[in-house]
Structures are given as structure tokens and as C-alpha cells.
Subunit: 212 residues, 2 copies
DNA sequence: GTGGCAGACCGAGAATTTCTAGGCCTGGGC
DNA sequence: GCCCAGGCCTAGAAATTCTCGGTCTGCCAC
């Protein structure tokens, strides 16, 4: 059996960078410097012989190859996490955590999103008492709430719904800028749309295309 | 997103050691010393908090947890390989190579085993001019041939078949000792059995059970 | 325009991880 | 009873990875 595989660390750096479309943000998520991410991604690109990102002076874009690679790598991580937690439950491999504010929870099925089979294995944790600051601080990856977000965060409008008192409100998914399109959030958005036949809804646009 | 995953290197050491049921053999496959394998596996066990092997004075056995973990890790490697080769074909991630001697090829479907969908993605290379020495040297992982093997290798008898000249011969899979039960060989054996409704065939026994 | 700033890149050196080497220990086979 | 195979251990060497400055480029506000 011969092996020639990229290292897990460089894949992890790639996955985080692709999700955030930023080396800096990926670095802060993983807890290293952005130089380390840059080096790991470069190493991965060199070992593959393929450019995964297009570097722009103010941020990144995925190339076509990078965009094709990302969801498959995400799945590899998800499978590895599932396998690992099966034999070592306390290991807690890789969590994408979703905050649900109480008012939004009232219009969603009980236990959403963990109770939804189709979101497995991407979504791994539910936080019930979440608010916007936790998204900013990185304590949770996204927040589902009634009402808009905040200028520094991305807001994705799912549907208009009637809250407990009968008032019409917008159900939104709030996340860091650029992340509405990451695999996990896209799965959540698709699920919410299926649940709440939307009167008006935003558009999922894949920004992860090669430019020029 | 929080991460707490074992390192790829330690998983690779585990996978090879489990396949060979020997640190020494795994070390020689990967090209390091057996001490390195021992350390990597121990690190993995420590980080999981679970024993994967039962160390015997003369070899290894998988524990129940190790036996449950192995096929899932194999799949993770296979998926990673497939994803990686898709965007970087020359990468050649991880190959399980099957030798087919010409006389055996004559009684098998053309292109076997690569042409068989159900063997994807475990089997990754076919070598047509193979002989027993290549198995011993580790140049290929197993060999399918007519007639038995050699005292130092494991022989798994699939079926009795008529060769080109009408003589009855035994179709056998030859591999290193203990490896007839590894995932890849088991898949090959099952496929061959399905193809050649066997008159007599051996038994696949899973030796990878925890003892006592 | 021009200054400030965000974000990526680079290189040197530090820190951490991984590997090797050599000796030890145990049990099976002759 | 001796020899050998195979795993274990530890110390030090080797390799990898990370950090820390410093640089460069283009955007934005003034």
C-alpha cells in the first residue's frame, strides 16, 4: 500500500480558510497566526500542484479546484469526527454550533436543528441561549433569530413568520461575513426553507467561483 | 468551529498496523522504524482515551473499539484519496494494488478488478505481470493466480476453475500473512466468490476480535 | 492626493513534534 | 536452556511547524 496524502493540518487550514475566505479569520478560529495558515495552505497547494485560492489584496477567492475540493474535505472531516466520536464520545471532534434564540425556537420544530436527520453530520451542537455577541466572538458559528442582525455580521433572511404574539417578523440566520455560503450554513438555510414555505426569502449565491 | 481530531499520521500508523496486525510490518510499509509506529499508535490511543490494540508478546490483536474504528478510518482515507485525485490526478494518494497473473486473468472478467464498481474505492491499481516475489517484497498488496502460493505467504482459496487448457486449477488470492482479512482483500474475495459460484471455497474468518 | 489600515507574503529563528538508535523484557520454538 | 521475534522505553537528533518582525498592495476616508 503506497500513501501520498496531504497532511491533516494543511487540510484543516484549507477548510477553515475556505469557509472564512480569509487566512486571518481562519487563523483566529484555529488559534495560530495567519502566517501559519498561509504556510500550510501553500504547502497543500504545492503538494497538490494546484492553486486552491486566488489571492486578492483584500481577501481570498476559491479557484474552481478549491471550490470542488472544499465540500469533499468537509465531508472527510465530518466522517472522521463521526467515526472518532463513536468509539470515544468525549472526544468531541469538530463542532459546528448553531445558536437558536428563544423566540425563533418557538416557531421551529422542537429540538431543531439537532433533531433533523438531513443536517447530520454537519451540525453538531445547539446553543439555546445565544445572542449576537457570541457569533462575533466565535463562540458559536451561526445564530437563528427573529429580526435582523448587526452591521458587522451577515444576515440571511429565511422567511417572514408570525411570532408568539402574532406579529410578523423576519426569521434570519446570522453569521460572520461570507459564511452564509459555507456548507454548514447552506444546509441549515435549505432546511429552514423547506420547513417554512417562505413568503419571501433571500437567494443563496455561491460566491466561491473563480473570477476572470 | 471547534476541532479536536487525531492527527493524520497517527491514523495512518493505526490503519497500517491494524491491517498487518504488526507494528513492525506497518513500519516497513510506511518506511519508518517500529518505534515510530508504536509511538504514533500510543499517542492516538491516549488522545482517544481508548485502547485500540491488545499487545501480545508475539503480535497484536485489535480490541473491539479498534475493530470498529478500522473500517471507518479506511473509508476516510479512501474518500480523501478520491477527493484529492479528482483535483490533482497525479497525486496518487493511496493505492492498494492487486496483481493478476495472466492465467488467472483468462478466467476473470476483462479488466478485473478495476472494472468492478463494487470494489471502488478500495482497490486502486492492477498489475498484470505480477508474481509471488512482488507480494513478498511489498511491491503489490496481493496476487490473484492459479495454483497455491508459498509457505511464507497466506493463501486464500477462492474456487476451482478450468484453465485455458481445460485443466482444473485452484484460483487463489495470495497475500502477506494475516492480510486475507483486511478490508481490501476481503472485498476482493467476496467479489471473486460472487463471480465464480465456487465449488469449494475457504472461509473468511475475522481474526480481529478482542480476546478474553 | 495622501495617510491609515487591512490582509497577504517572506525569512529567520524558536518551539514543538516526530523519528532513530540502542538496549530491555517477554514468551515461543528448537 | 538458548535464541529469536516483536513490542517497549528513553535520550537525543532531525524535521516540521509556528511566531515574530518587516514588506507590499490596494481600499477608504479625509
Amino acid at each position: 500500500m503506497t500513501y501520498r496524502l496531504p497532511s491533516l493540518n494543511s487540510l484543516r487550514a484549507f477548510e477553515a480558510a475556505a469557509r472564512h475566505l480569509s487566512f486571518r479569520a481562519a487563523a483566529s478560529e484555529i488559534g495560530v497566526t495567519s502566517g501559519a495558515i498561509s504556510q500550510q495552505v501553500r504547502k497543500l497547494e504545492r503538494s497538490l500542484g494546484v492553486d486552491l485560492f486566488r489571492r486578492l489584496p483584500h481577501g481570498l477567492l476559491l479557484t474552481a479546484e478549491g471550490a470542488a475540493y472544499l465540500p469533499r474535505i468537509t465531508r472527510v472531516f465530518d466522517d472522521l469526527t463521526a467515526a472518532t466520536e463513536e468509539i470515544a464520545p468525549e472526544m468531541n471532534g469538530r463542532k459546528f454550533s448553531v445558536g437558536v434564540c428563544p423566540r425563533a425556537a418557538a416557531v421551529l420544530p422542537p429540538g431543531w436543528p439537532l433533531a433533523r436527520r438531513n443536517l447530520e453530520p454537519h451540525v453538531r451542537e445547539r446553543v439555546a441561549t445565544a445572542d449576537l455577541h457570541e457569533v462575533k466572538a466565535g463562540a458559536i458559528d451561526c445564530l437563528v433569530r427573529l429580526g435582523g442582525g448587526d452591521g458587522d455580521l451577515e444576515r440571511f433572511e429565511i422567511a417572514r413568520v408570525a411570532d408568539a404574539s402574532g406579529r410578523e417578523e423576519r426569521l434570519c440566520l446570522i453569521c460572520k461575513p461570507g459564511l452564509a455560503h459555507c456548507l454548514q450554513n447552506a444546509a441549515l438555510i435549505a432546511d429552514l426553507r423547506g420547513l417554512l414555505s417562505p413568503k419571501t426569502a433571500g437567494e443563496i449565491v455561491d460566491v466561491r467561483a473563480e473570477i476572470g
